[in-house]
């Protein structure tokens, strides 16, 4: 987390001075869904599926070349899980909140389409009970995606975003309960956002 903070500070202080081009600020709202968070075995298989998670993302990016931007995004997600177990009705809950900070590079692909790849840290915040009761460790998250510029009006651009990310999921409560290793989790999200470019 200290490293991420240092990166943010460095970007904020150095990048605008180094390149007088546009600094972009972005805000977006979207939903993320993904593969199961965990599997358990208690007489029968239990699968912990994640529900669609509304996610708010704020970002800032600085030009690092004529075409590419280096950016930092903070995202707050509000999700929940559904426990699926043969012979029982599906059970909703517990809910979870995630906070992530990712650094990324984005650049043009074709026309209004831009690619984005990055990496960062993601944390499941502590909840009242259940598998998220103690929160989670800092997880490495890898991201890739595309942004599509839909409409531009002055300094503002309406963007459609598609994001994929990958993490190896576990929580402190799962580890405390004796779970070992981690679960591959792939997530895909869609969102709409606004970019503001400051000359």
């Amino acid at each position: 987390m200290r490293i991420s903070s240092c990166c943010l500070l460095s970007l904020a202080l150095l990048a605008p001075a180094a390149l007088p081009a546009q600094v972009r600020y972005s805000a977006s709202l979207g939903v993320l869904g993904g593969t199961p968070l965990a599997h358990d075995q208690l007489f029968q298989e239990i699968e912990v599926q994640q529900d669609l998670a509304p996610t708010v993302t704020l970002g800032v990016s600085f030009p690092v070349s004529k075409r590419e931007f280096l950016g930092l995004e903070a995202a707050l997600g509000f999700g929940g899980v559904t426990t699926v177990e043969p012979g029982y009705p599906d059970v909703e809950g517990p809910s979870f909140t995630t906070l992530s900070l990712t650094g990324s590079v984005d650049g043009p692909v074709i026309g209004p389409l831009r690619y984005r790849v990055g990496a960062g840290l993601l944390k499941y915040l502590p909840e009242e009970a259940g598998i998220f009761a103690e929160g989670g460790p800092l997880l490495l998250v890898l991201t890739a995606g595309t942004d599509v510029r839909l409409v531009t009006r002055g300094s503002f651009t309406l963007m459609a975003r598609i994001r994929y990310d990958y993490q190896r999921f576990t929580t402190d409560q799962l580890q405390f309960s004796g779970f070992s290793r981690t679960q591959d989790v792939h997530r895909l999200g869609f969102g709409l956002g606004v970019d503001y470019s400051r000359p």
Partner: protein, 220 residues
């Protein structure tokens, strides 16, 4: 920059090598099932399991408002709730005893009703009991389940701790843990002396809530 993109995707692919979380083996447990004599013509016993159906959660507890019993009950609920990873059991206090699934009273246990089974925890300076009525067939639990917590030595300095242990212990019975643990370090030991859940208590609760129940709750 397409090189950067490819490098990023390659990194993702490498790290995305298959990995699944591995669940623990939960064999630290004691038997929780109710042993019911079901044929008066002979000594025939049946061992039956119960847990609250998912659509009954949170279970409704009516707790007598006397001598901090409500506070003790809240502590017990929080304690047991933490035993579960997926929200299998939870409870809340209700004001109307008519709609309660469980009634907990600060009262010396009355004579056992006909057909009911009593689980009693005897600890000085207090004791507790939970009565389960298996109804006309042994495959039912007649609601409400009734628990009693009673201070036998009201001025004893250990009364508060005792009330805490016993209330949590009785809530464990109302959840479906119908037997006592043979280990004195477990909350569900017949003479409870701890106010935390042991690994066996947690394992037993988890097992009970994923074991196919034989009994269903019915309201007369």
């Amino acid at each position: 920059m397409s090189r950067t993109l490819l490098a990023g995707l390659a990194g993702i692919a490498i790290l995305a090598a298959c990995s699944d979380i591995v669940s623990p083996v939960r064999n630290a447990r004691y038997d929780w099932r109710l042993i019911v004599a079901y044929d008066s013509a002979g000594p025939r016993l049946d061992t039956l399991s119960f847990h609250w159906p998912r659509n009954s959660v949170p279970v409704k507890l009516w707790v007598e408002d006397a001598s901090d019993l409500k506070a003790r009950a809240r502590e017990g609920i929080a304690l047991w709730k933490d035993a579960f990873l997926y929200g299998e059991w939870d409870a809340r206090l209700v004001d109307d005893s008519t709609s309660a699934d469980v009634i907990i009273r600060l009262l010396q246990p009355p004579p056992l009703p006909a057909g009911a089974i009593r689980m009693a925890a005897s600890v000085e300076p207090c004791f507790g009991a939970t009565d389960v009525d298996t109804g006309a067939t042994r495959f039912e639990i007649v609601l409400p389940v009734r628990s009693y917590v009673f201070p036998s030595l009201p001025n004893d300095p250990g009364l508060e701790d005792c009330m805490r242990h016993v209330t949590s212990h009785e809530i464990g019975h109302t959840m479906g843990l119908f037997q006592h643990s043979p280990d004195s370090l477990d909350l569900m030991y017949g003479v409870p002396a701890v106010d935390f859940l042991s690994e066996r208590d947690v394992g037993t609760a988890e097992n009970a809530y994923h074991f196919t129940p034989d009994m269903v709750p019915v309201r007369p």
